[in-house]
């Protein structure tokens, strides 16, 4: 059961990572095949587990400002910036569709 070109295309758009070549696509096929083994397991009545710490209350701290004012440090690592903005190319331009 092969993955359709539509789905491959959709994945590339979601992941913003390309399959690059046939090898990449085959790798995905193998990964899916591998994962299909899970379907054998009987999980009737079993709740999904999000976290091993599910029986505990998550720590919530007080809504107080305890740190910040580090704009300069954070901008250090950005390659393109203008004043205190991270600079991005124009948005809302979709990627071209995947060829067969």
């Amino acid at each position: 059961q092969k993955v359709s070109v539509e789905v491959l295309d959709h994945l590339e758009h979601l992941a913003l990572v390309d399959f690059r070549d046939l090898e990449g696509v085959e790798r995905l096929q193998k990964a899916i095949q591998f994962a299909d083994q899970l379907l054998e397991v009987n999980t009737d009545g079993v709740e999904p587990m999000d976290s091993v710490l599910e029986d505990r209350c998550l720590y919530l701290r007080e809504d107080d400002v305890t740190e910040g004012n580090c704009t300069k440090d954070l901008l250090e690592n950005a390659r393109e910036k203008v004043e205190e903005y991270f600079l991005a190319p124009p948005g809302n331009i979709p990627l071209p569709k995947l060829e067969e």
């Binding site: 993955v3 789905v7 959709h10 994945l11 590339e12 758009h13 979601l14 992941a15 913003l16 990572v17 390309d18 399959f19 690059r20 990449g24 790798r27 995905l28 193998k30 990964a31 899916i32 591998f34 994962a35 083994q37 899970l38 379907l39 054998e40 397991v41 999980t43 079993v46 709740e47 999904p48 587990m49 999000d50 976290s51 091993v52 710490l53 505990r56 998550l58 720590y59 919530l60 701290r61 580090c70 440090d73 954070l74 250090e76 690592n77 950005a78 390659r79 393109e80 991270f86 991005a88 190319p89 124009p90 948005g91 809302n92 331009i93 979709p94 990627l95």
Partner: protein, 525 residues
Amino acid sequence: AVLKDGLRSQVSAALKEGQVTPTELCQRCLALIKSTKFLNAYITVAEETALKQAEESEERYKKGQPLGILDGIPIAVKDNFNTAGIETTCASNMLKGYISPYNATVVQKLLDQGAVLLGKTNLDEFAMGSGSTDGVFGPVRNPWSYSKQYKEKSVPKSHSEDEESSWVITGGSSGGSAAAVSSFTCFAALGSDTGGSTRNPAAHCGVVGLKPTYGLISRHGLIPLVNSMDVPGILTRCVDDAAILLGSLAGHDPKDSTTIQDDFKPFELPNLTDISKFSIGIPKEYHAPGLSSEILALWSKAADLFKNAGAKVVEVSLPHTRYSIVCYHVLCTAEVASNMARFDGLEYGHRSDKKDSTESMYAATRREGFNDVVRGRILSGNYFLLKQNYEKYFVKAQKVRRLIANDFMKVFKSGVDILLAPTTLTDAALYTEFIQEDNRTRSAQDDILTQAANMAGLPAISVPTALSERGLPVGLQFIGRSFQEKQLLTVAKWFEKQVQFPVIELEEVKRHDNGVFQHQKSSFS
């Protein structure tokens, strides 16, 4: 020789008494790092800052006010932990040149106690792999490849080209950290463990590798792979040292809401002589396909060791073991797909020159920055998270995860205190053989004995047990109950004492540091 001191309590005593100074210790470690450069264990050596930290430590010792047992002790940190002012690359093009603006909590804790940060160690790219062979800075070489023990057994006494191709891998993904500790360049190193990444290289490099309970040590600043399974790992040369490191790192961190809020009390390990009160479980499913007969025999011998010492040794069953690797595969790739989304080139890291649109810039940045392994996992993860697949794969895997965790709970409820199992299927492979198979296949094979503990969040420790027929280390692992590290380490320490694992005889090192070691020998005999 000071550098060979596994017991940091000995080194600490030496520092306190002025037998050796922090700067001397630091300089020796730095020199050793230089002379063992061929191991490729370090990505970045922070020479200047390390010496400065050592000098500050020396001042404190002079005043008689050391910060604690870790003051002046050289340590190394895996390159997926943020270290302020020091490049953090995750062995990926995506973060080459990235200088962290902050310290990971565990790094900060070590520095606050006066530890000397020597540098950042090599790993598989973004900690994905089981060989430490897939990073952009090249593979890490197992120091045991250059040991007398290995050479006598495995290297034909001929040309250097044979020597070149006879080196073995460290295992991964914390291979650099394991190699650094194993070759005496530091006294302890931080690794990370998501599917066995600390225990696997620990076993292959003959060092102790501790995976703490999920929620015990802060992940703040550890570049995440799988948020629900990642933990910082501890690599040391003996179990006592692991306990010391654990004591300085564990505890609630307000910056990591997944750390538990219970008070953590650092402990000293008792010198247990009577093991008879313990019940050791031998999980039969860990006799997995591919387990070498050698390791099977060692595992059996270890079980007998406990039995003969009066402990209760029982065979137990963890029935869902054979599905754990598949379950891990789905959950891991799904969480990876989510975690890797942050790398878009805008705020930090590599940025492509493509300017047409945001999306094309992101896509190009990620194509240029990530290797095949990372990209493959992102794509697989996104597939399993698609609306049409979500229930079928992701939720299903979460259910299987519960079954796996329950398997452990049942066994511990039945009275078993500690599980004993192999850490790896074989001893370290030749690099030339290891790279014949792709990363995903290798990871699936090698993680089989280690990753169930990550799924259940349990603490586990790999202890060097014996040398294989090829002269390479083999480790066995102990898995304990959640947050029962004291019990786990107590048993591990007892075992360590029984097996008396040999010290590595590194000939290359001896050649370069003859003078240094001789000098030490005379001061400490």
